[in-house]
């Protein structure tokens, strides 16, 4: 069992659809502790990314994912632009030349992606950022090593959901939400929420 290139393309599209469906929700979350643009930012970026897909859909997975990353860097802006851009560029670097991915490939790619996000944003778990969704998702993937891909992806999405929820009580220490200090507690982090969507659509579409 492997993850096909076409399902990677499907996943990108599905993520764009999920972002569109959750645009106002993400923006509402960002209104509470940020500046009310996370939904619009991600939507603008993913629309551009989907627009770029036809030019690379027949290339290898690494090229596709790198292109998505570069597109996001050039269109999203804000904090999420460099972070999601780096995430996809690292996914792409890790999968360069591949036409399909094993579970181990995918796990390694996500590890590289998370590494890139942390290198760029310097956030640790517990600081109320997308890292709080991505880290448990990666851990779940690692724990599922050797098992069925669908099950592993599902476990990783579930872990991302739990990670997302874990941000609610946290006091933000990174990004714009850190400016409100204690008042950020009680609100769900928008970036962790979009990151869960990323991994949920991955579980739903990668095969």
């Amino acid at each position: 069992m492997t993850i096909s290139r076409d399902s990677i393309v499907d996943w990108i599209k599905a993520f764009a659809v999920a972002i569109e469906a959750n645009k106002d929700y993400l923006t509402d979350l960002d209104s509470a502790i940020g500046d009310a643009d996370h939904g619009a930012n991600m939507h603008r970026g993913m629309q551009a990314a989907v627009g770029k897909l036809p030019t690379v859909a027949d290339k290898d997975i690494g090229t596709i994912l790198k292109t998505i990353g570069m597109t996001l860097v050039a269109t999203v802006g804000g904090a999420s632009g460099p972070l999601y851009g780096t995430l996809f560029m690292q996914l792409g670097t890790s999968t360069a030349g591949k036409m399909e991915l094993s579970l181990a490939d995918w796990t390694a790619a996500l590890e590289a992606a998370l590494g890139g996000v942390v290198a760029r944003g310097k956030a640790a778990v517990g600081e109320k950022t997308m890292v709080d969704a991505l880290t448990p998702a990666l851990d779940a993937l690692k724990s599922a090593a050797g098992s069925d891909i669908a099950a592993a992806l599902k476990a990783s999405a579930a872990a991302a959901a739990a990670g997302r929820d874990s941000t609610i009580p946290l006091v933000a220490r990174k990004g714009r939400a850190s400016y409100v200090g204690e008042r950020s507690a009680g609100h769900q982090d928008p970036g962790a929420t979009s990151s869960h969507l990323l991994l949920q659509t991955a579980a739903d579409h990668l095969k």
Partner: protein
């Protein structure tokens, strides 16, 4: 949402088109990626000074492009940091061989995007330095936050840094001026009403008719605390005290005072606030020797104000007084 706009997604490009049409004598506007440069640039041998940030803070930064101030500005989406490709193109466009300074407001997004752009520009052989402004005393500066936000000081730093660059000082010197203004400057802001991000379509926060938000950010980010609406006298006392005690500014200091409107505040109120501020500082023995009063770093239609002080010495005073000719700030030219 009540705005003089067409579609939310067209606000920034259409406003940029308006700026381009209005100020062709001073600036040129490029699109895809979006950036604004001096009409008479690049200037050989002069350090290029660039800034940028989300839109919705007009006239900052685009209105400050011109002789004696910025060589280029990169406008992002509303309240969203611009992207590295904009900054890279702007950096290349203003490079006159003496290096380029990036003036970056301290927001995670701005810092990361400018960092990426600087890396790309350096890879193309352009010398780049960056100064991050972080003057907002409303935010706790600690290891456990993203640090203080860059706000009002940015405007003043851009003016004085631009003047230094105009004198053909080196990149190192120009960056030092910018850093000095930032280090000697402090700001605090407050809001009477929220702003509405066009894409969001509704106010970022709700503020009851009898309340105000102290320590607001320029993106409608929540501030230090929410309080009952107070008099201008009390508001200035509270904000000025936080600013003065932070540096601290001391008796005998000469300062540049900047009373800034957030976009929806009428000028009559800003002058009234300035009156309170001058009286407050006089009481502390601090002398205002230069001032700027108006809406220069805004948050869309938010009502409110911010107070910025920069401690002046001879060098900074002269740089402030130097001629400037931009769409939004102009004297001596």
């Amino acid at each position: 949402m009540k705005k003089l706009i067409n579609k939310a997604e067209d606000v920034v490009p259409e406003a940029l088109a308006g700026m381009a049409a209005a100020h062709a004598d001073m600036i040129k506007v490029f699109t895809n990626p979006n950036y604004i440069v001096r009409a008479d640039g690049p200037i050989q041998g002069k350090v290029g000074v660039i800034s940028g940030g989300g839109s919705g803070h007009e006239p900052m930064h685009g209105g400050f492009v011109g002789m004696g101030m910025l060589d280029a500005a990169c406008p992002g989406a509303v309240f969203t940091s611009p992207t590295p490709d904009q900054m890279l193109e702007a950096t290349k466009a203003v490079n006159g061989g003496a290096g380029v300074l990036h003036i970056v407001k301290n927001y995670t997004g701005d810092v990361m995007n400018f960092e990426m752009a600087a890396d790309l520009a350096k890879a193309e052989g352009i010398e780049v330095a960056a100064v991050v402004t972080n003057d907002d005393v409303a935010v706790k500066d600690s290891l456990y936050t993203a640090g203080r936000r860059g706000v009002g000081v940015t405007v003043l730093a851009e003016k004085m840094t631009g003047a230094a660059a105009e004198q053909r000082r080196s990149l190192k010197d120009v960056a030092a001026v910018c850093q000095k203004v930032n280090d000697l400057g402090r700001t605090m802001g407050m809001a009477l009403t929220s702003c509405t991000v066009p894409h969001a379509g509704k106010p970022t926060f709700d503020l009851p008719e009898d309340e105000m938000e102290i320590g607001i950010g320029i993106h409608g980010e929540p501030g230090r605390k929410r309080m009952k609406l107070a008099s201008a006298h009390e508001i200035v006392e509270m904000m000025a005290a936080a600013v003065v005690e932070d540096l601290p500014y001391k008796s005998g200091d000469e300062v540049l005072a900047f009373v800034n409107g957030m976009g929806g505040t009428p000028l009559i109120e800003l002058y009234l606030i300035y009156n309170e501020l001058e009286a407050y500082l006089k009481g502390k023995g601090i002398k205002i020797t230069r001032r700027l009063i108006g809406s220069y770093i805004t948050s869309l239609e938010m009502a409110g104000c911010s107070l910025t002080l920069v401690k002046l010495d001879d060098e900074l005073t002269k740089l402030w007084d130097a001629p400037v000719k931009t769409p939004a700030l102009r004297w001596g030219a």
